[in-house]
Symmetry: C2
Subunit: 201 residues, 2 copies
Amino acid sequence: MRQESVLDFWLDYASTYSYPAAERISVLAHATGVRVRRRPFLLGPIFKAQGWDTSPFNIYPQKGEYMWRDVARICHALGLPFEPSAQQFPQNSLLAARTALVGFADGWGEDFSRAVYNAEFAEGLNIAEPGVIAAILKKLGLNAAHVMERAQSAANKALLRNETGEAQRLGIFGAPSFVTADGELFWGNDRLEPALAWAAR
Amino acid sequence: MRQESVLDFWLDYASTYSYPAAERISVLAHATGVRVRRRPFLLGPIFKAQGWDTSPFNIYPQKGEYMWRDVARICHALGLPFEPSAQQFPQNSLLAARTALVGFADGWGEDFSRAVYNAEFAEGLNIAEPGVIAAILKKLGLNAAHVMERAQSAANKALLRNETGEAQRLGIFGAPSFVTADGELFWGNDRLEPALAWAAR
């Protein structure tokens, strides 16, 4: 029997283009018979290593203006609501990423991820606020206080640091990124299909 | 009768992703009933305005390493040869752009464009060398000396400066870029299809 194909989906909860990718990936992966591993990480430390203290979309305003228009068009074509907060970009995604790691260990990570992106980019909420994350957890039927305690444990903090280090080691410099079992890196929502095709070969 | 749809295809001859876009656009535009206007310009002055003295693919090595792999994969999938010179990136595209403007006025601009990209990215030649441009012109059955004299005229130099200024005014920050008649900007080879779809609406 052929070995199962796996694709790693590296996502940052502050990343605009990760939102449509997170919405699209399940159906497309199912159609190609590829199993997806979602791997939350933080772009911040990777940007810092490139000399950036914020998103390149803020540093290069023309690129930023284009990105907002481009993501709005992409979401519109997919029928996805897109009403991000005008005030805050990028949002601090540390708490969301830590909480997501608990969720992926427990089996509710995908639902949590999509709810986080929806809160941030469709409802205009700030995912750095513990209350926003707690409300998402409650909606998923979870004990928010208990989950967030685990999210903030030393072991879980170290896990996220390790994952971010692994992303850096793989040459990841943006999100979403996709990495196949044989080490092919694909960057961007628009590379989801070629990444899945590569993984399914 | 419905008015003809037009899409402006802004290209820099030093741009790797413009190569597959230039190869793909004619067939796709024909299929969607959109007329394409090819508009050569120079990214250099636009990069300078952002504080870059070379391509961001050189400034950010991880992004650069990814780009070479990504373009190789894209060309492989299209059956396009891709064997760029290892030494020179980005190449100086000034002479090619000036010559192309003469070609678009005279009707051989598209053939010239594709030959330039082929020389640069499939044959590993340096398009900054007048001999390389002259050889392309000769292969197209043109009087190379005469064309290159027109390319280097004061009026033609001013035309290229104006086109680059217009690109900047439109918010263009990379190549290839596509701009519809109603001002929608699309950036990247991977945005060719949505740009054509927008233009054809």
